[in-house]
């Protein structure tokens, strides 16, 4: 902790995730558990990425790919099964008590559903002042000033006219702005947003995304966006990571990943984005079937049952992350890595 505060290198990652794993054990009979026969939902299976201070990363993928679970682990709503989350040089997975509270002051999360994000019995002011009360901002005027400022910053003006409103009296778009205001009121360094606009009407999405982008830039926030919507990620994030069944299959600078996708899954995903130009020919990459169950994952590369380019090796071995240069990585045997896969296999066997 003391060391990291000295090295205020702008390029050093504020957040580094190493091999994050989350398995949700399925509740079964006591006898089955005694027999050691415990099944689990493999929600996240070894996710690693890092974000520089002030940087932004987007996690994209279909529903059930573990992106929300990852976000919730970053904010310690779920305990990871294994792996590390290094925030400003400190592993936050093991934080407790006062240290955890100190971390909560620096890292915030925006939820998907703004209607559900507030206690129905609190006024907007009460909901926004809560974080300040919890973190011991003693001066009442100071608290009021900060709540006012946060509401004003998210373009809810005049801010004081929202103080006495109840959540049910606001529209979804306004409420999501209040959610953003609550995330900002503690002046955090890190903000994760889980599908921040997917519950909202299309007409108000752009406005909110603009506000988020502005605030993130003004406050030099480090951000993680979770979305199934690649256009949102393209707009907000410098880095994009594509997830499939709890793993990052491809990661790199957003423009590269979206314009020149490498992994067959990314290619398929991007080919489904509608292009508003009827003249332009599109090549759709067909993928068969649905997402396999996260309880019994496919062997080898988890994408091989649906992959049009699947080879023998894909069934047997897990492709390691391959460095393609320019900050891009991909997990696919089409680009090599067959020898390294053996080593991964050995390591896994040894572990």
């Amino acid at each position: 902790m003391a060391v990291s505060s000295v090295t205020t290198n702008e390029r050093a990652p504020l957040l580094e995730v190493r091999d994050l794993v989350k398995h949700f054990p399925l509740r079964r009979g006591m006898l089955a558990n005694l027999a050691g026969d415990s099944e689990a939902v493999h929600a996240v299976n070894g996710v690693s990425f890092s974000v520089r201070r002030g940087g932004s990363i987007g996690l994209a993928g279909e529903s059930g790919c573990g992106k929300s679970t990852t976000a919730k682990m970053l904010l310690r709503l779920f305990e990871p099964t294994s792996g590390q989350i290094i925030f400003d040089g400190q592993d936050i997975v093991t934080l407790k008590g006062a240290d955890l509270k100190a971390f909560r002051r620096r890292a915030q999360l925006m939820f998907q559903n703004p209607y559900e994000s507030f206690s129905p019995r609190f006024t907007i002011f009460r909901s926004l002042v809560e974080p300040l009360l919890i973190h011991g901002v003693k001066d009442a005027d100071e608290r009021t000033r900060r709540v006012w400022q946060a509401l004003n910053d998210v373009n809810l003006q005049p801010a004081e006219s929202f103080f006495q409103k109840f959540p049910h009296q606001l529209s979804g778009g306004q409420l999501q702005r209040v959610v953003l205001a609550r995330s900002l009121v503690l002046e955090p360094e890190f903000l994760a947003a889980d599908e921040p606009v997917s519950m909202l009407d299309v007409s108000v999405r752009a406005g909110i995304l603009n506000t988020m982008k502005e605030q993130a830039a003004q406050r030099n926030l480090t951000t993680v966006y979770i979305s199934h919507d690649l256009s949102l990620i393209q707009y907000l994030c410098e880095t994009t990571a594509i997830m499939y069944l709890g793993q990052i299959v491809e990661m790199g600078p957003t423009a590269g990943v979206i314009n020149e996708p490498q992994h067959p899954y990314t290619k398929a995903l991007i080919s489904t984005i509608p292009i508003p130009e009827p003249e332009r020919k599109k090549t759709t990459i067909p993928i068969e079937g649905g997402v396999p169950s996260a309880i019994s994952l496919p062997s080898g590369c988890t994408f091989h049952p649906r992959c049009p380019f699947a080879m023998d090796i894909c069934e047997r071995k897990v492709p390691p992350p391959l460095d393609l240069g320019q900050g891009r990585t991909v997990r696919c045997f089409l680009y090599g890595g067959k020898n390294e896969a053996d080593e991964v296999g050995k390591n896994a066997a040894a572990a």
């Binding site: 904010l75 709503l77 955890l100 509270k101 909560r104 002051r105 915030q108 999360l109 939820f111 559903n113 559900e116 994000s117 507030f118 206690s119 129905p120 019995r121 006024t123 002011f125 009460r126 002042v129 809560e130 974080p131 009360l133 919890i134 973190h135 009442a140 005027d141 608290r143 009021t144 004081e160 006219s161 103080f163 006495q164 409103k165 109840f166 049910h168 009296q169 959610v179 609550r182 503690l186």
Partner: protein, 309 residues
């Protein structure tokens, strides 16, 4: 908690547009229910009358309920209802009407205090079990199972046998056992509330477990606690009456159950002295019924789908 209250003072005074505070809304919808639900209204009126009678007992009752009434040195035993004695007298020359009036006091005392403890203990246990889960939940729920396994009236009788007859032992027995229903229901409600997004948002803000339990979850289960509280009022009055009727009541306190027991052992039934045992019976019935009616109204408030059935 102390800090939480200060925040309401600093909210700038802005004229309320619509809505109002949570409690205000609850009060307003309660009034709505009373307007629509005649039964709930009847329940409230019955309780108001009982409360009024209990407070004004010395004014309303013409005689001391314990006094032996005499005329020219002769005991006025087993009088039939007349102008002087509205409901006649007992076999030891006490005024039945005065007893009936004073009987409202122990009924309310037992009813409200037992209901308070039942709701309070049940809510706290349900909150803790539901919120923390795991081993704490398991322990508390097995404790609830044990409480469910103990037969209530025999338990009261044993408790009274140990601690001596007093209406407070009925309250104690109810507090010790009857929280079980409340705790179960509150727990299940807490289980669903705990996973709601606004509770997770509070955790992200750094709120402690106790803050989340009492500031975020408790206000949302309060109506449910109130429902079980109102139902417990009737239960408590009935229990006190049962215990008194069985002869384990406090002999110094004139309650409706005590009156029934008194009438029973002096064979009022055989003598056809209906004016002695029917009025306290009706009072017990009205009090229990009123509690039930109010509870039913509250249930509609909680589960609007029940309306109009």
């Amino acid at each position: 908690m102390a800090r939480a209250t200060t925040s309401s003072e600093l909210i700038p005074v802005i004229p309320e547009t619509q809505g109002g505070s949570g409690l205000g809304r609850l009060a307003r919808s309660s009034v709505d229910i009373l307007k629509r639900d005649r039964f709930a209204l009847a329940g409230v009126i019955i309780y108001l009358v009982i409360i009024l009678v209990a407070i004004l007992a010395p004014v309303i009752a013409p005689y001391d309920p314990h006094a032996v009434l005499t005329r020219n040195g002769a005991w006025l035993t087993n009088q039939n209802p007349n102008g002087t004695f509205l409901l006649g007298t007992t076999n030891v020359a006490r005024d039945i009407f005065s007893q009936l009036v004073y009987g409202a006091r122990p009924a309310l005392l037992v009813g409200f205090s037992a209901a308070f403890f039942v709701a309070l203990i049940g809510t706290v246990i349900g909150l803790i079990a539901g919120y923390f889960g795991g081993i704490i939940d398991t322990l508390l729920m097995r404790l609830t199972d044990i409480a469910f396994g103990i037969p209530f009236i025999p338990f009261v009788i044993v408790l009274v046998a140990f601690l001596g007859p007093s209406i407070w032992n009925v309250v104690l027995a109810m507090a010790l056992l009857l929280w079980r229903d409340t705790a179960r229901v509150i727990r299940s409600q807490v289980l669903t509330l705990r996973s709601r997004t606004f509770v997770q948002a509070a955790r992200i803000s750094g709120a402690s477990s106790w803050r989340i339990m009492f500031l975020y979850i408790a206000p949302n289960i309060l109506p449910l606690s109130m429902l079980y509280g109102t139902l417990a009022i009737g239960w408590a009055i009935l229990t006190e009456a049962s215990v008194s009727f069985l002869g384990f009541g406090d002999p110094k306190v004139v309650s409706w159950g005590f009156m029934l027991q008194d009438a029973y052992v002096s064979q009022a039934l055989a003598r056809g002295a209906y004016f002695w045992f029917i009025p306290p019976g009706i009072c017990i019935m009205l009090a229990v019924m009123a509690g039930f009616f109010i509870g039913r109204g509250y249930e509609e408030l909680l589960f609007p789908r029940l309306r109009g059935r």
